[in-house]
Symmetry: C2
Subunit: 356 residues, 2 copies
């Protein structure tokens, strides 16, 4: 069989604890479905690397990683060591931009055995994707400060949207909506307040919709959309949003399903010209790092998304089913404390790997 | 007694239905507490006015309204008649900017008799304010489009933060936190992604905090902050945020308490140099407009905030108590359909006025 080269970057904090369990699950799936995976580990992309080298990545990171089929990332950031805007812009955001991972995809789904903070919701009620633009928009680094240190001090930062950038994320989202049974797409806007870029976004949504007569399209301003995530999460199927709005919605969505600690996220270059990157939504969690109690499900679910991206949908589905099976199991002893269990990162990882 | 001149703009849709009930409640409170209120009604600031005059406001709106002590607004916007970015930028956003209403204040509170979408939360559990910067930030109208109509089409929009603008909203929020029993302030940021303006915001928060040693301060990135509104709404006391983030949080907060249809909002010029403006969070609601079933509580609660702003805290509190008393009443017949009653806008308004 074809062998896929996977770059593994554990990163900071609990990243180093959950990544081994992600790999354990991937190996189990690779064994069962006869998939060739080859892992290579890297130290860079972590705050400790920064403290030693004065930068988050080596100068040749682009060449080094270009040859891989995917990047399996733990978590990056440790504000007491390195300010977030340095650690993140020096790693994750470089990958997104230079490997043109213009899609950020996150599932929002009620899982068995995980309590939702919302009243009266059952598994099956909530099951949607947030498709986030991942390379431009509000995350530009264009801008600056004038009259520094005086009363007139003023800072500016530019939001930049290009037709190419907007259209390609919309196309991905429309294709995804088209492939799902409900065929429904919701666009996040704020054209009533952000009066230049957001009306443009809406205009491109309208233009793209013409090519997808079977997809039903609606749009909400981001303020009321966040409200509707809480009030009517069952309304959504595929939600498409700009970089910032997608960032917000793809944390809020998993929060509404109670899965923020276990949700995965995929940073995808759909053409496969560059490696795509898979990392859990949770961060490095300095408060629980080093205790061996971090929940590894997000990392394992990332492995599932990675296999699906590499063309092994059946194997990815099997990994998600194994997670659901373990969560639904009456015996909670292997689960981590956040799931009201008495287990560890490793015991939960082993149980899921065994289920695969 | 001193007479306060109030400009009344009913605006669009259900604005025209709920404003009379707001006035009824205000008159009841004015009678009971012997407050002099004089109302003058204006047709402008509505989409119908726009269709007739080609603009949302007459040229002399600034002079006309400057003489008033407050503006009591219903709702503006009716997308089928006038695009939102025209109707809103032509009215509400003009008032905010030219009357320097730099504070947008919204209470988020669980009310008796109103079902929260969150599981296991009781009145008393959630009670906080969102303080939103209301004149600058992400809502600048600076920017434009280049290479229009081609593949290279690019749009840009500038976020602008000034030291004056940031410091004064922070000061208001810190003062408010200082005056409340919990003395807790939470700042919304996104300095890990929005790498220029947001680190500046954080810097000003740190500087301002030095003057308030008794206020405990924390901060969250906006993505996880929205998640925490759902997961831990009891954490919050006063939340301060930029224009866009405040817009989002002040819809999401009331959504979490189930009060989005009844929440008020105050656009305040704290120095009283210009009139402040009070409008409910709900919009013009084209879908139910004209049916006489819109819930007037948001408009009445706005009246309470207005009286408090004019210096009548006791009267404002009495209006809020009257709302709570009517909501808690076992007899639901006068309530509007959204509250599972069989009543109308008017029957609910009358019941609250009677309770005042
Ligand atoms: C209507 C719109 C421009 C406005 C805003 O975004 O400020 C509204 O959402 C609000 O919060 O008052
Ligand atoms: C860490 C941060 C820069 C990042 C983002 O905002 O994109 C994170 O919140 C995410 O969503 O992956």
């Amino acid at each position: 069989a074809n062998t896929h080269k996977i770059a593994v970057i554990a990163g900071d904090g609990i990243g180093t604890e959950v990544v081994p369990e992600g790999l354990r699950a991937l190996e189990a799936a690779a064994g069962r479905f006869d998939i060739g995976l080859e892992f290579e580990h890297f130290e860079f992309g972590s705050c400790d690397y920064y403290l030693e080298h004065g930068k988050m990545l080596p100068d040749d990171w682009f060449e080094t990683l270009s040859g891989f089929d995917a990047i399996f990332y733990g978590a990056v950031g440790w504000p007491d060591k390195v300010p977030d805007h340095i650690s993140l812009w020096g790693s994750l955001l470089q990958f997104r931009r230079h490997f043109d991972q213009y899609i950020n995809l996150r599932p929002c789904r009620l899982m068995p055995g995980i309590k939702s903070p919302l009243a009266d919701r059952e598994p099956g009620d909530i099951d949607f994707y947030v498709v986030r633009e991942n390379t431009e928009g509000e995350y530009s680094s264009i801008g600056g400060k004038i009259f520094e240190g005086t009363e007139r001090e003023t800072v500016m930062q530019e939001t930049v949207m290009t037709r190419t950038g907007v259209d390609r994320v919309l196309k991905y989202a429309f294709d995804l909506a088209q492939s799902r049974p409900r065929r429904k797409l919701t666009s996040a806007t704020k054209s009533n307040g952000i009066s230049i870029t957001m009306p443009y976004w809406d205009e491109r949504v309208k233009a793209m919709a013409k090519g997808y007569p079977e997809v039903s399209v609606d749009q909400f301003h981001i303020d009321i959309l966040t409200a509707n995530f809480v009030l009517h999460p069952d309304w959504f199927d595929v939600v498409v949003a700009s970089n910032l709005f997608g960032d917000i919605l793809s944390d809020l969505g998993p929060a509404c399903t109670g899965t923020i600690g276990v949700a995965p996220s995929a940073n995808i270059n759909p053409e496969g010209k560059f490696p795509s990157l898979f990392e859990p939504v949770h961060g490095s969690a300095p408060d629980i790092a080093g205790k061996g109690i971090a929940n590894p499900i997000g990392q394992i679910w990332c492995g599932a998304m990675m296999l699906e991206h590499l063309g092994y949908k059946e194997a990815g589905d099997a990994m998600v089913s194994a997670i659901e099976q373990v969560l639904a199991d009456d015996d909670k002893s292997a689960l981590t404390p956040d799931l009201k269990g008495k287990g560890t990162t490793q015991s939960l990882g082993e149980k899921i790997a065994a289920a695969i």
